[in-house]
């Protein structure tokens, strides 16, 4: 074939096109190879009329091609025009099958038998050609597709979109956009929030769900696909919905075989790992450069910048700094030592274990969201009870965790490379302890959303975070002066398991030895008596179970099943037994706890004869409460209707303690055996309301209360996400006249929540509504107003593990 080109660019997406544009501007002999008969196939394949976004907004675009957010057609049109105008040398229908040779003399083989010679090769092939497939039974059925070209093609269908990324959300929105099409669209998300997707998309999706155009099912994953229906695992168990078509958008992975055949090495064995690259995008094969989605970042702006940069690098402009350089420079400015941005990035990446598997490019992007801090020895990094949900990674030095308020010298060390602050990740709890620098410390602070994105995109980071948080949970739980060295064997066997609602992890009578630690969710312990399950106790997240069989070397004495969808750590019993034997103190602790459990077992055995009355009653009440969400509650208001006179003083007290608006509805809610569960916040272990709060305004306080702070923007996401209907959107009325002036002069509406007219007259039309909910009267001396204000003692607040314990039977004889 013809002369050797200086640069051959494979793939004409945003990255390849931008590279070709740069090469054309620099008059470098180049060729742009495109497999299909049009430029930029990935964008071309976007659904018709799709709005293409230009994120991240803080990133500066540097390319010879223009790009701005807009319709798919406009974006493609601009590129076609500019490619022609700039004299880009394009070859369409050029499907590359192999790349042979060495730097300076590559031979690119095409499917039509031709060969192209080039000195350098830029791989910009993206990952779209290699979509991840569904690995569930029925995933290969004909009604499952991994691509949606024109959402207008489908009418009157029940369509399920699987995948919580931008592609999935956009497909779902497209399918539901025109009500005339009559599609019933459901989107599934395995987790509770849409962390991978762009904010704007998530907003559109929630809006569509609000208007009833789309059904969002969070914490749901497909179990089995069948013709006409789909079986789903949800938080509350298995369910089935009608489904004529499945659109699976569960991401894509690099076409590894082809890339490796070119001589390029990957960072790890992970299916989703990316090629190893130098800062100039050069792969381990000299002369082959990798940019774009294949290099690890799929955003258009990024790709285009890389296209520009890679050509400059090949052209010898090694001093070129990436477009985001000034932003990063500013971030690293206050740090000691005068390192360059690249040095800093490498420094952080090499030293902080959870960042180790990021590519330099991902690291750059990641740092745009994060901050680096330098703390002098002894400086406080954060105080106990401070709000905050970011994670810190230690790049240099070590930090000290203060173990006691009284004695600040009592500390535990967290070493270089590790992370801290991870407790807040799941629950958004306030900081559990004060952390200060043990020596001069350099640490990266990663905001909650960035860490969720990191965990979703880099599996290795997720594993590292899970490992650390698992190990810490075990250390905290077992206490007894354990160190992480002691846990090495136990951790090797630890395995995280998802348990569906109702599924048993331990069956009575089995001979298993494993120990289970409940990470999230909660479990109920049951014993079968007269073939009927009797509720023994309730285990919240943070408990462990299963040690009885181990200590006694006996069969399991009770069944443990998930009250709601839960996550447990399973530890091999033998490894744990060895740990127990090497740590007498731990063994003694475990024995003590076991005795308590045995007492309960014995008690139930003793009551077996009067089963139909006492125990049965207790067991059915407990089951009722668990059904009503008490299984995931940490603190719940119950009303004993044997005592409740219906005076609503609880509601009035609530309103008077909180801006005149009540956060509970006494009369509504379920009742069983005169125990009433009013509509009021249960302060769930893993609050659903927290899942999707744009300003991150929902937190867990010191006493476990879930509260909304002043940064609420009134978006209404939390009331939608709450399964118990306990959050209201209201305008906050002005303060009422005092009680005495009402008592003596009749001014104002009196105690309790004023009627709607009174409020409406006093708030302006454009006062924003804010979300209000129970905060357990945090900060009010004396505690919960509803309980204090109950004249008869009908209202009580209980933590389920205290209430749902059969030991109460002994003392109370219900």
């Amino acid at each position: 074939m013809a002369d050797a080109y200086r640069i051959a660019i494979i793939g004409s997406g945003p990255a390849g096109l931008s590279a070709a544009g740069r090469a054309a501007q620099l008059d470098i002999p180049h060729i742009l190879l495109e497999k299909t008969d049009h430029l930029s196939d990935t964008i071309y394949k976007y659904q018709k009329g799709k709005h293409v976004m230009a994120t991240p907004s803080q990133l500066v675009l540097r390319s010879d091609m223009d790009f701005d957010a807009g319709k798919r057609e406009e974006v493609l049109g601009t590129w076609d025009e500019q490619a022609a105008a700039q004299g880009v040398n394009v070859r369409l229908n050029a499907d590359v099958t192999a790349i042979e040779g060495e730097a300076g003399n590559f031979r690119i083989l095409l499917a039509d038998g031709e060969t192209i010679q080039a000195e350098n090769v830029v791989l910009a092939i993206g990952t779209q050609g290699n979509p991840n497939i569904l690995r569930v039974p029925g995933g290969d059925l004909p009604h499952v597709q991994y691509q949606l070209d024109d959402p207008g093609e489908y009418v009157d269908e029940h369509i399920t979109v699987i995948g919580s990324g931008d592609a999935g959300i956009e497909n779902a929105l497209g399918l539901a956009a025109d009500a005339e099409q009559g599609n019933v669209v459901t989107i599934l998300n395995r987790s509770a929030e849409f962390a991978r997707a762009k904010d704007a998309n998530v907003k559109l999706l929630t809006q569509a769900a609000e208007q009833g155009r789309i059904t969002i099912m969070t914490e749901t994953s497909p179990a089995e696909l069948r013709a006409g229906e789909i079986l789903l695992d949800t938080r509350d168990g298995q369910t089935k919905i009608r489904c004529d078509r499945v659109i699976a958008r569960v991401g894509s992975a690099p076409p590894r075989k082809f890339v490796e055949a070119c001589g390029v090495e990957f960072a790890s064995e992970d299916r989703e790992a990316f090629p190893k690259l130098s800062p100039a995008f050069e792969s381990t094969k000299k002369g082959i450069f990798v940019i774009g989605a294949l290099a690890g970042y799929p955003l258009i702006k990024h790709c285009m910048n890389q296209g520009y940069d890679v050509v400059e690098f090949i052209n010898g402009n090694t001093d070129l700094k990436p477009a985001d350089e000034p932003l990063l420079e500013a971030k690293f400015k206050g740090l000691p030592g005068s390192r360059t941005v690249d040095h800093w990035l490498d420094f952080l990446r090499e030293r902080v274990s959870i960042l180790r598997d990021l590519s330099p490019l991902q690291m750059r992007e990641f740092m745009l969201d994060s901050e680096v801090h330098h703390y002098r020895r002894g400086a406080t990094i954060f105080e106990k009870s401070e709000p905050g949900s970011s994670i810190f990674g230690i790049a240099e030095g070590h930090v000290l965790v203060e173990l006691s308020d009284a004695d600040r010298s009592l500390t535990q060390e967290i070493e270089q490379g590790s992370i801290f602050g991870e407790v807040g990740l799941v629950s958004g709890r306030r900081r559990g302890a004060t952390i200060r620098a043990g020596e001069d410390v350099i640490a990266v602070e990663i905001p909650r959303m960035a860490i969720l994105k990191l965990m979703a995109t880099v599996p290795a980071a997720k594993r590292a975070i899970t490992y650390i948080s698992t190990e810490r949970q075990l250390l905290q739980m077992f206490g007894s002066g354990l160190k992480s060295e002691d846990l090495v064997d136990v951790m090797r066997t630890a395995e995280i398991m998802q348990v569906k609602a109702g599924e048993a992890i331990i069956e009575e009578g089995d001979d298993g030895l494993d120990i289970f630690v409940i990470r999230s969710g909660s479990m109920v312990v049951e014993k079968s008596i007269g073939r009927k399950p009797v509720f023994l106790s309730y285990l919240p997240a943070g408990s462990y179970v299963g040690e009885m069989a181990l200590l006694d070397e006996a069969l399991r004495t009770a069944t443990v099943r998930a009250a709601i969808k839960s996550e447990v750590i399973r530890i091999d019993g033998r490894a744990f037994r060895e740990l127990l034997h090497s740590k007498p103190e731990l063994l003694a602790n475990a024995r003590r706890e076991m005795e308590e459990r045995e007492n309960i077992n014995n008690f139930v055995e003793a009551k077996k004869d009067s089963f139909s009355t006492v125990v049965d009653m207790y067991s059915s009440v407990a089951s009722f409460l668990v059904e009503n969400g008490i299984g995931e509650a940490t603190d719940v208001l119950l009303i004993d209707e044997n005592l409740c006179i219906g005076c609503d003083n609880c509601e009035k007290a609530c309103a008077d303690s909180h801006d005149g608006l009540s956060r509970l509805n006494r009369e509504a809610g379920r009742t069983y055996a005169h125990i009433h569960v009013p509509t009021s916040c249960r302060h769930c272990e893993h609050p659903h309301c927290m899942a999707d709060c744009p300003p991150n305004a929902i937190h867990r306080g010191d006493d476990g209360e879930v509260y909304i702070d002043d940064t609420c923007i009134g978006c209404g996401n939390c009331p939608r996400n709450c399964p118990y209907d306990v959050i209201r959107m209201e305008k906050v009325p002005p303060p009422k006249p005092s009680l005495l002036s009402w008592l003596f002069f009749g001014t104002g509406p009196g105690p309790g929540e004023p009627d709607r007219d009174w409020i409406d007259d006093r708030v302006s039309e454009d006062t924003p509504k804010v979300a209000i909910k129970c905060d357990m009267c945090a900060g009010i001396e004396g505690g919960a107003a509803c309980v204090r204000a109950c004249p008869t003692g009908a209202a009580i607040r209980v933590a389920p593990e205290e209430f749902l314990s059969v030991s109460r039977l002994e003392t109370e004889q219900i």
Binding site: M477, D640, N642, S657, E667, R788, G793, A799, E801
Partner: protein
Amino acid sequence: MASRGADLGASDTGVGRRSLPTKHEGFLGYRGGYWGKMALGISITLIAAYLLIDVEPRHNGGSWLGYTLGTVGVLLILWLTMLGVRKRAMTPGRWSLKAWTSAHVYLGLSLMVIGTLHTGFQLGWNVHTLAWVLMMIVIVTGIFGITAYGLLPRRLSDNRDETTEVQMLETLMDIDRQLFDAAQPLDAGPAATVQAALDETAFDGGIRQRLGRRYRGGATARALAEFRARPQPVDDPEDKLYDRLEALLARKQAALSRIRQHLRIKALLQIWLYIHVPVTFALLAALSAHIISVFFYW
């Protein structure tokens, strides 16, 4: 029981720091009937003192014992009145209205002894005895209240069966709408009967009707009886219509009786307060007159 992991280095947060929930007990059994025992102790002590202490010429409100009892009584009355304020003033602090109610009930009962001993059983047609009578009325209505509080909540709960008052009223409105639509083809006579039933609301009837166990002679009941008594001609095309009307009337009757029962129990839980509270104020007035007259015209 399984242990719950404390936060890292924060063993005093969370579960540990919050005190365990108070054991579930009603206002009567509060603290093992602490205030009941207290009131009983006070009453027995005072009766013993009354019997053992010799006052010449006879026990009266003007003796040192009488003054003591009177002062204690009036202070107690003022404090008992404060429950109304306590209930409405949601101030912060470690108080519980249940404890106040418990003390209110038992100390209020002991006032019967304190007040009566203060009179020295010298009763007559005067403002002093008026104050005593009013006090006794307040206490007796209070006893009615305790009884109602003890017996009725359970029935209130059973009757409403998870429906709220608003839902009950909505059900009624819904049935009325259906009844109205269904009755359109009727002739004037039966139409008037249905109209009368439609006009019947949950709030009809006087106070005796409202508080009585049985609600007599409602228009819905009459309409139902009338339609049921209707002779059944074979294959009358109107049969279906009448069947439907009958079913709707029966539903309305059931909905009415549930909401009436609900309102009746709620009324019984409250009605005594309409005597208890105003008479308390009358008592305070009479008490003032009593005290002033005693000191000025002695």
